[in-house]
Amino acid sequence: MNASTVDTRAPKIVDPETKKTRSVSNFLQAKLQQSLAFATLVVLLIFFSFANTAFFTWSNISGILLSTAVIGILALGTTFVIITGGIDLSIGTGMTLAAVMTGIFLVNMDLPLIVGVLGGIATGGLMGFISGFNIAVLKLPPFIATLAMMLIAQGLALVISGVRPIYFTSVPDFKQIALGTAIPGLPNAVLILFGLAFIAYLVLSKTILGRYTFALGSNEEATRLSGVDTRRWKIMVYTFSGLFTGIAGVVIASRLDSAQPQLGSGYELQAIAAVIIGGTSLLGGRGSILGTLIGALIMSVLINGLRIMSIQTEWQNVVVGAVILVAVFSDSLRRRKAIF
């Protein structure tokens, strides 16, 4: 009867005392993980700077930041999904479908730039909405629902593009979205990444969507019993994350000045890895945007540094894999300590 009034308020999932102690320890854990990740980043930067003088030059640093943009944007969005205890495997090929749709809107349909870009972003949002609906209402496991969406997006990207890249040569301004330099020497894609990180931070920490994101991941049943329409909020989280997928699609298309329909598969795993390295728990309920940003930077600094040092491609993969293992292991170790 008064469910609608409760609905707009934060859920009371635990009694005030335990809530307080838990949030304090959560806060400390998050800070610890973040500072460890940050320390790792600094150590990597120092190490590579000494290993090769070509590393710490503005041109290379700006290159690293640019190479973080696409994976970073995907990682920001999917941080929300992972905090709810879910997973979204469709963000890699979904990004590609968004890029292809942007191409269709701008090149084939010749729509104005802003309409095409918003259309691309909306494509991502729509895919997120459908995944969210399948998970929240049809009760499909997130892994399966988004695996299916991953395949659907991959197939549609190929079908819609006619298995051909779409070039944006007829839209000269489009390239400026990622590669223009509003700040000299720094590509716009980097500004987009940091701007989105700030927005994601505000949404996660200051809005009701952020609060329910954590609540869904901590204890979904309790959240539901406290009168929250968990289905609706879950759909919202996946849709919100989908918008980031759409933006990543626009950015990658702009950087390549083309929509490449065969790309994208495997990008989701890199984005998820960045989120995990940044200290967000795959079990849900815990995570931060700053951590994700640092996690994405660790990945790209590591890969760039190994490339500058001419380490074989095969070994680069081994090193990145090892870093993920260490990050997750140290995280689980600390969590065990925190419980006992």
Partner: protein, 328 residues
């Protein structure tokens, strides 16, 4: 009960479709060959279908098939690492009992038992692009990738004046085209150009974005780098993007690519890329279907059909013989 009726309806519908389909294809070829009422069917199993290269092979195959009045199907896995998926497609093709199979091997060993199975089922097999280590296939239509890599090296050497540092952005260290295009280039440089040093070889899986980041790292690590060689379309465009993003002056780094496609042709026209090697994918498709057709008719096709490769740059791009093998 209800579901059982539905199954029955579907089964009847499927049978009707098969029957009608059989009639339709029968009527297509019934006229010329009196005794042979069935349209010849050649199943092509490719290494992929998403790259423009494979689309051009498919186009060539379909053109020749239309000319010969045979039916072809063209399929391949989503990525060139999916050896297992490709073998399943080959198995399914054998089960369909086509009149001939055209096959491009992703892995030269894993395909051996299936080609033996095709032989046992009396289906002639021809190959294209990349071969299987088997005696079953009657012929292969392909590019001599090592010689093509060597031609890329000769042109790179000419363009940078015979000395300096060069790097390679490869697309695969496993599949045969990636390995041979790299080795052909490396061996030619070692043998003929002692003053050129290959400072780095890295692999971007043909992913445009990854290849661009690799090329940028190479340029940063080797300030004196004079040339970069990309071994397929994605690698080459990655290098072009890297040069553009770094804002390097034209000609600071000489870019040599491989294959065609709209983006590479544009880069060559604008001068960011010096030139590239193109294969003849349409020719590969045509020759594969022709060889399969000959095999069905009892003729022995040539064992190795070299479909050729060409260096193209801004000067010769519009010449008729080059324009014919370029594809967008």
């Amino acid at each position: 009960m209800k579901s059982r009726t539905r199954v029955a309806v579907i089964a009847v519908a499927a049978a009707a479709a098969l029957f009608l389909g059989g009639c339709a294809s029968g009527s297509n070829t019934a006229a010329p060959a009196a005794g042979n009422s069935k349209e010849l069917y050649i199943a092509l199993i490719s290494k992929g279908f998403q790259h423009q290269f494979w689309q051009a092979v498919k186009k060539g195959a379909e053109q020749r098939a239309a000319k010969l009045g045979v039916k072809v199907t063209f399929e391949g896995p989503a990525s060139e690492t999916e050896v297992d998926a490709q073998l399943q497609m080959l198995q399914a093709a054998i089960d369909k009992k086509p009149d001939a199979i055209g096959f491009a091997a992703l892995d030269p060993k894993a395909c051996i038992p299936l080609l033996d199975a095709a032989k046992a089922a009396k289906i002639p097999v021809v190959e294209f692009d990349a071969g299987c280590d088997s005696t079953v296939p009657l012929s292969i239509a392909k590019t001599d990738s090592k010689a093509a890599g060597a031609l890329a090296a000769d042109n790179m050497a000419r363009l940078i004046g015979g000395k300096g540092e060069v790097g390679i952005v490869g697309h695969s260290q496993i599949n045969s085209t990636g390995v041979e295009r790299r080795d052909g280039f490396v061996n030619q440089i070692k043998a003929k150009y002692p003053d050129i040093k290959i400072v780095d070889i890295q692999y971007g899986d043909g992913d445009h974005l990854k290849s661009a980041d690799i090329a940028k790292a190479m340029i940063a690590a080797h300030p004196n780098l004079k040339g970069l060689y990309g071994t397929n379309e994605g690698s080459a465009i990655g290098i072009v993007n890297a040069v553009g993003e770094l804002g390097l002056a034209k000609g600071k780094v000489t870019v040599v690519g491989f294959d065609s496609g709209q983006a590479q042709m544009d880069a060559i026209t604008s001068g960011v890329m010096a030139g590239a090697i193109t294969q003849n994918p349409i020719g590969i498709g045509e020759q594969t279907v022709q060889a399969a057709y000959d095999a069905i008719k009892g003729k022995t096709p040539e064992k190795i059909i070299d479909t050729g490769f060409f260096w193209y740059d801004a000067k010769n791009m519009t010449e008729a013989n080059i324009a014919a093998v370029l594809y967008k």
